[in-house]
């Protein structure tokens, strides 16, 4: 069977420093500096430097695999998910996705407070790439999973925070995708709901979906994922089983916190 995700030498750089590009003035300013630099009137360290958020990442994910992405803040976890979700382009390299992808980087994308629960389910489902028919076929399951049945025709602005996130997560949990990208979204709701959310994802894994999961909750990552990808400063430093990956991650985290203190 073919891999669902094939990532080859993926890199992403961001510009740092002088090149602001926030306004026309900045652009003119940059252009002026560049001109001066070319005539070597200004020292060269004033030109823009690139910062590599991701550098030469390669990996494959097979159907039925749940992969936890571990790394400190700024290691490139979210950047990786954003590239795979087509939210931003890589600078170099490529990624091949075989199958429908659903990225759940937040819950309730596109929710409008004045619309009812029912209307928001359709809207959010559509933003996540579901067709109207698909939402209709999962509708009852979504509502039931959220536990909001009596309030489904109430505008969501009257919902409590818990009700809101439960409904929002339920839509995402029922996406009929082959590849799921999750960015810290299983930590929502109360303990009972978190348990159901994790169980739901384990169920999706068993159905043969590929899951990429970013979370700082080590316990939850270990429950769901059997494989780990460790990122450090934009580089892939470990790709292997979860237990080893987590040990490695915790060791580096500890040593860096020792350095800081």
């Amino acid at each position: 069977m073919k891999s669902l995700i094939e990532v080859k030498n993926l890199s992403k750089s961001y510009r740092l420093g002088q090149r602001g590009f926030g306004s026309l003035r900045d652009s003119f300013h940059f252009w002026w500096k560049e001109t001066l630099r070319k005539k070597s009137l200004v020292k060269s360290d004033e030109v823009d430097r690139s910062f590599w958020a991701l550098r030469n990442i390669s990996f494959k994910v097979e159907p039925g695999q749940a992969v936890g992405i571990l790394g400190a803040n700024g290691a490139g976890k979210s950047t990786l998910l954003k590239i795979l979700a087509s939210l931003t382009d890589p600078t170099e390299g490529e990624a091949l996705l075989r199958g429908r992808l659903a990225s759940i980087l937040e819950v309730g994308s596109g929710f409008h407070p004045d619309l009812t629960g029912r209307e928001n389910i359709y809207l959010n489902g559509a933003f996540l790439g579901m067709k109207r028919k698909e939402v209709t076929s999962y509708f009852d399951a979504i509502v039931q999973f959220s536990g909001n049945e009596p309030f489904i025709d109430t505008p969501v602005k009257h919902y409590s925070k818990g009700m809101y996130t439960r409904l929002a997560f339920s839509v995402a949990a029922h996406l009929s995708a082959d590849i799921l990208l999750l960015d810290e979204v299983l930590e929502l709701g109360d303990v009972a709901f978190q348990k159901r959310a994790i169980d739901k994802m384990i169920e999706r894994k068993k159905e043969g979906k590929a899951i990429l999961f970013v979370s700082h909750d080590s316990e939850r990552v270990q429950t769901l994922c059997d494989r780990s990808l460790n990122l450090e400063a934009g580089r892939l430093v470990f790709d292997g089983n979860m237990k080893e990956g987590m040990e490695r991650y915790l060791t580096t985290a500890e040593s860096s916190s020792m350095l800081n203190s």
Partner: protein
Amino acid sequence: MSETFTKVIKADKGWLSFDLKALIHYRDLLFLMVRREFVAKYKQTLLGPVWVVLQPSLMALTFVFLFSKTMKVPTDGVPPVLFYFSGILIWNFLSSALGAISVSMLHHAELCKKVYFPRIFLPISLLCSHFFSLLIQSTVLLALYLFFYFSVERPVFKMTGEIVLIPLWLFQLGLLSLGVGTWVAGLTSKYRDFHHLTALGLTVWMYASPISYSLSLVPSDWQWVVMANPVSSIILSFRSSLFGTTRVPFEMQMVSFLVCVLVCFSGVLFFNRAQRNFIDTV
């Protein structure tokens, strides 16, 4: 496994890459976005969509008082209220749709950071919801039109078969609004300065358009200035189709139409280019 969903994510894809597959796949979203736009605007308002008609009506009355009653500006034999209302309808569509489209990407930056969908739906959904408002406003125009046509013994204007051409002028209006709107949206996403320029530009543009005056009042040496503006031919053709006033010469109308097509096409491509790495810069 659905091979149809295979997708390659690569670095630079060039100017012309447009994810048509996604447009088709997400078509249900467009409808829901238009609805969301409309609901967001009028839920919890007392008068709801009445606001849509109130604004151009008040503006038309102001024009009647100012230009017709006070300054006695002639209106090509068309009842002043109708003359101004028809011009305002076209202009208001352009300025409000353009204004909304130009900030659509920035306003939805948070959404764009979190979920993928064809970004071009942001301007297109706004265009659709503005057409819906135009439809509501047109009922007032229609009522006034029929009132003047039947109540005055000798109709002051002619109803001609050209009335069927109106959808064409509105289509042209849509192209122009989308085109200029997407250009400004693309530029604003990079350079915030353009936000200030939009308001200024729209004011100047309004006075350069024959909304409160007819072309016959402009000295013939200067008429080209008015006609170089693509909105002018839309307003003038809209009026001539409604009231049988002087037609815009065919060649001029064609040129203006082509300009609108070009602006729209290039604007959409530019927007598509600008949205690609938009979230890296906000």
